[in-house]
């Protein structure tokens, strides 16, 4: 085959170098991206090469090993950080209609938002639970691997323009009041209600390397598994399954499915269109 002239970001990401970079990151920084879906990691590293002005992954690897601060920046390229509130209103509406009636039967509730990024989904769930009268007895664990994202999530301050845009989704999700009931304007942003922030514990957790840490009635893990290869998907779903109580609920992204995974038989599809599953045993 004829060689083509590689331009930066084209052929610069060789398989061997990429594998070596991910191995080094795991060894030195204990973040495991080795089971991430490759096309996406490759694409992100192509952007990172341009941003860090490195001409090869091998060079980037040298720098990451020599400069811990640079790893912190590289982490931004390896994870998705921004999400929306009430993304896919159909999902939240289905939770309200089909899951909340079960949750109401528990005296105390634990909910886990796995892969919470900057917290929008965790706050959306807190709002939903508050409106259903369940928040006072609920503890929400929201976890991610990215410390900067967790800090933003913890602060609970979002851009006022974005909040205005989330209002439509909130209404379509079956919101019982107005999204504005749940935040106050301050410092040019929107600060989420203290009551919501108090109900959520944000912490570091990796679906690639950690195990379940609590027994919960509902896990929401949406658009996280798509970034994993099949083997890591099986591991991660195993962790979520371990965390769920008997007959507990698992919500995935609308284009995600348990169908092709090792855990398909352990769940029933409660609301197939909203990708809400229920643990069988």
């Amino acid at each position: 085959m004829t060689a083509v002239v590689p331009t930066l970001g084209d052929a610069a990401v060789s398989d061997r170098e990429l594998a070596s970079l991910l191995e080094s990151i795991y060894r030195v920084y204990h973040h495991d991206f080795r089971g991430y879906a490759e096309a996406s990691v490759r694409r992100r590293m192509q952007s990172a090469l341009i941003f860090f002005k490195c001409d090869s992954i091998a060079r980037l690897e040298q720098r990451v090993l020599a400069e811990p601060a640079l790893f912190g920046e590289l982490l931004r390229f390896l994870t998705v950080q921004v999400t929306d509130m009430f993304r896919d209103p159909i999902y939240f509406r289905a939770l309200r209609e089909h899951v909340v009636p079960y949750l109401q039967t528990y005296a105390s509730l634990k909910v886990w938002v796995a892969g919470c990024a900057t917290g929008e989904e965790a706050y959306s769930l807190a709002i939903l639970l508050a409106e259903e009268g369940l928040l006072e007895r609920t503890m929400i664990y929201a976890t991610d691997i990215h410390p900067d994202s967790l800090r933003i999530a913890q602060d609970g301050v979002y851009d006022a323009d974005r909040m205005a845009r989330f209002s439509d989704a909130y209404r379509l999700a079956g919101g019982r009041g107005s999204l504005g009931d749940h935040y106050a304007a301050a410092y040019g942003g929107a600060v989420l209600d203290r009551r919501l922030r108090k109900a959520i514990v944000f912490s570091d957790h990796s679906l690639a390397t950690d195990s379940a840490f609590a027994e919960v009635q509902l896990v929401s893990c949406r658009n996280v598994l798509i970034y994993f290869d099949r083997a890591l998907q099986d591991r991660a779903i195993g962790v979520l399954r371990d965390a769920l109580c008997r007959r507990g609920f698992l919500g995935l992204g609308l284009k995600e499915s348990l169908r092709f995974t090792a855990h398909a038989a352990a769940f029933s599809e409660l609301v197939p269109t909203a990708k809400i599953y229920q643990r069988l045993v």
Binding site: M1, V4, V5, P6, D10, A39, I90
Partner: protein, 203 residues
């Protein structure tokens, strides 16, 4: 330069404003003997339901389905990107989804599909850019071309919105093949895995 004898293994198509009608015509032209998988990105307003797979299935003789995460590419099947997700082509001939930031304000983005197709299928890729009002797809088509694949662009003169094909032409340069809608239709009617991308005329 050695003779290139790469057989066609993947077709990727991208379009935006003004492209739906062309896609319908091209899918209707596909032969029922088609063995190459086709992946389509069509920009739409974000909504969780897309009617595009259903529309295409009405006239297409091959199976049409919306992309799901980690779906294995099957022979002669037409895949359509779901709204609000990027579609990436993996090395193992599977498709993956992502919710990474929009590219050119678009998710799904044509560039994301085309660039990962070029990385995974290289010279065995045929990329087609249709009508559209932004420049998504230009970088991706250039990447397919640099990887040795075939770069086809709808003749901007026949496009309802010429910005997208014009940008793709500028990015690819002389190696791009410019086809009218009728020529695209005739190409799609002849598509099959035995086609040699670099020896058979695409026009």
């Amino acid at each position: 330069m050695s003779a290139r004898t790469t057989a066609l293994r993947l077709i990727v198509i991208g379009g935006s404003a003004g492209a739906l009608d062309v896609m319908l015509e091209l899918c209707a032209a596909l032969p029922d003997t088609l063995t190459t998988p086709i992946v389509i990105v069509l920009h739409l307003q974000a909504s969780h339901i897309s009617l595009v797979p259903e529309l295409l299935a009405r006239t297409c003789r091959r199976p049409v389905r919306e992309v799901e995460d980690k779906l294995a590419l099957e022979a002669g099947t037409v895949y359509v990107a779901p709204p609000n997700y990027h579609v990436l082509v993996e090395r193992g001939a599977t498709l993956a989804l992502s919710v990474d930031a929009p590219v050119h304000y678009s998710r799904p983005s044509i560039d994301v599909l085309f660039e990962t197709a070029a990385d995974s299928f290289g010279a065995a890729t045929l990329g087609v850019v249709l009508s559209g009002a932004n420049e998504d797809g230009a970088r991706g088509l250039a990447r397919i071309h640099r990887a040795g694949g075939a770069a086809v662009v709808q003749d901007p003169a026949t496009a309802l919105y010429p910005t997208m094909p014009t940008a793709a032409l500028a990015a690819v340069g002389r190696g791009a093949q410019v086809l009218s809608i009728a020529e695209l239709s005739s190409l799609f009617a002849r598509l099959d895995g035995g086609m040699n991308l670099h020896q058979d005329s695409l026009r």
